[in-house]
Amino acid sequence: MEKASTKRGNSLSEVRVHEVIEVRHLTDTAYVLRMTKGSMDFIPGQYISIGKVASIDKRDYSIYSSPNDEYLEVLIKEVADGMVSKSLRNMKPGEPIEVEGPFGFFQLKPDTLNERKHLFIASGTGISPFHSMVTSFPELNYHLIHGVRYGADAYEKSMYQSNRITVCSSRDGKGDYYGRVTDWLKENPIDQSTYCYLCGNSDMINDAFDILEAQGVPSEHIHAEVYF
């Protein structure tokens, strides 16, 4: 929850200018944009809104890096016909970039962090907030289900402990599981006490939500971050 504020004016969120450090290409269409962190303070799971300087086109991206890192990273997948996701890929080190935020309530509950089992379900770049959470809280008891079309889209899989991640690839057999995350969920019922976090496209989230509720997970233990 947003911290109480004692300021008197709630001006529109502050736009800060950061500097691009590097663009790390993961696949033909996915990349990690690393920027200077400045004074940005955030909670793992939150997102920022970014765009080129003086451009009115800003888009939201979950923060990929951890608050403990000295830089700020986002993981972006180019969208066909997309405006911002394509243009940010061509940014060069040293170029200024406008950043607003952090925003969002997609956060782990601090009181249950180390006790509870967490199930993270991501589609595509929806893995980004989980990357931030996992790298921020090394003791976290989690299992991450990553839905991708092709095994090659399992972004930086080696960053996660191998027994804690299951890549579900729906179009080739190159993941850990051949099929959709929803198929995996149906075959692997979830313990009702698990805290479930879902992130990515709304169709996947909608289906996964239904499956989890049918398996007895109470709705207050299911949290979602919808990208589109």
């Binding site: 504020s5 008197r8 004016g9 709630n10």
Partner: protein
């Protein structure tokens, strides 16, 4: 001779509250407040920008003032002043464009203008809670502002971009404001803000604040105006039977379709919303529940809309504020491909309106034979009109009752029409 000032308020309760307090300030400052249709030295338009229609209305209102008195000072504030600031600044009909968070400086700006000073509204202090209590505002009940701004960024909504980030008014200030309103004689305090359920001042949450307001001495009642479901915490349930809390809640559902709610980036499911309503009704079966529904959100199918109708029926909302989805530049939903044709939106809106009327009549009819404690809002020879604690309108025929007085009545009938008042007899 006193300068004349006219106000026009568009949009939400918060705007109304802010205009009311501005009116008070100007009256105290020696201005004569006149109707917007009359000739004035200053016109203040408190704009709204939530839909295309509201933008259009705001523009018309500005022109209307300028037509009446072309050389008058035209001051434009409110959400459109934030969302379309450059456009408004370029409009030669407008003298000053004042941001939402500088609204409380409007008196100083106008005062400085007439003293011949060069005025730049952007140089005034930002203060979203800098409004004085209105002794002579337009209504018998008063709004009590506890919060401003919103961080939810629902995908259709422009408000976080124009009202800014969430900010909570200090507890002591809210309580002082409430005490002052009670002292002045207001009988009903309507809790107001952009997203009041997110109230959090140094760990004091919304429900804690409501508890403290209810504990204030005096004969008054509190109405929680419009809120988002996520603000509904456990403690609130225990307060639903408090004698000072009006049993009316306006909780925004927006859609009954799970798929659409996700696309809207709302933070609940229709199922969890329904469970919340059941819990509310288990504590307070006679609760008057009203809501907002958006029809024609991008991608809304006939099945999605049917789900909204089904939920409205199931939860028995007695009034549905139905909005036809309106594209707002800069919001995520505006970039979505599958926009719904205007004709379909209108048909859905009409269907929702009819259902809402049906629910309203059924709910209000259930009061026949029961009692209501009214606050008289309109006093006339033919009848006096009051609002009961459940936020239901009640007419007392042939009695000119003093405005702002409490009256206990027995409900004996209901009018015909789409917004039927109940008929009450004095006890």
């Amino acid at each position: 001779m006193a300068k004349k000032i006219a106000f026009k308020t568009l949009g939400c309760r918060l705007n109304q509250y802010e205009t009311d307090t501005l009116i008070s300030q100007f009256k105290k400052g020696g201005f004569e407040v006149v109707d917007y249709k009359e000739e004035a030295d200053v016109y203040v338009v408190n704009t709204c920008t939530v839909t295309n229609k509201s933008d259009h209305k705001s523009r018309n209102t500005i022109q209307q003032g300028k037509r009446i008195k072309p050389d008058a000072v035209m001051l434009v504030t409110g959400c459109m002043a934030n969302h379309r600031k450059d456009q408004l600044n370029a409009n030669e009909q407008i003298t000053y464009v004042v941001d939402n968070d500088r609204k409380s400086s409007i008196f100083s700006i106008v005062d400085a203008h007439f003293k011949g000073e060069l005025v730049n509204p952007d140089e005034y202090e930002k203060d979203v809670f800098g409004f004085a209590v209105g002794e002579e505002t337009i209504h018998t009940r008063s709004l009590l502002k506890i919060q401003d701004g919103c961080d939810n960024f629902c995908s259709f909504c422009i408000i976080p971009f124009v009202r800014g980030r969430a900010i909570s008014r200090p507890v002591q200030e809210v309580l002082e404001n409430a005490r002052e309103l009670i002292r002045i004689g207001y009988k009903e305090l309507v809790i107001t803000g952009v997203n009041i359920g997110r109230y959090d001042y140094e760990g004091i949450l919304f429900e804690d604040l409501i508890e403290q307001i209810l504990a204030l001495p005096g004969d008054f009642r509190v109405r929680i105006s419009s809120m988002e479901p996520e603000g509904f915490g456990e403690k609130l349930y225990s307060m639903l039977n408090h004698p000072k809390l009006s049993p009316h809640l306006h909780i925004c559902l927006q859609s009954g379709s799970e798929a659409i709610l996700l696309k809207m980036r709302r933070m609940y499911t229709a199922r969890s919303f329904s469970e919340m309503v059941q819990s509310i009704r288990s504590v307070r079966p006679d609760m008057n529940l009203t809501t907002d529904i958006i029809v024609g959100f991008p991608g809304e199918t006939d099945e999605d809309f049917q789900a909204s109708l089904d939920r409205v029926k199931e939860m028995g909302f007695t009034h549905v504020h139905t909005f036809k989805y309106s594209k707002r530049d800069g919001t995520r939903a505006a970039r979505a491909g599958d926009q719904v044709p205007e004709k379909v939106k209108s048909a859905r809106s009409e269907e929702m309106r009819l259902l809402s009327e049906e629910n309203k009549r059924a709910y209000r009819s259930s009061f026949i034979g029961k009692q209501q404690r009214l606050i008289i809002e309109k006093s006339g020879n033919a009848y006096s009109l009051g609002l009961g604690e459940h936020f239901v309108p009640v007419k007392v025929m042939g009695k000119k009752l003093p405005a702002n007085s409490w009256q206990l009545v027995q409900i004996v009938g209901i009018e015909s029409g789409d917004d039927p008042a109940l008929i009450g007899e004095l006890l």
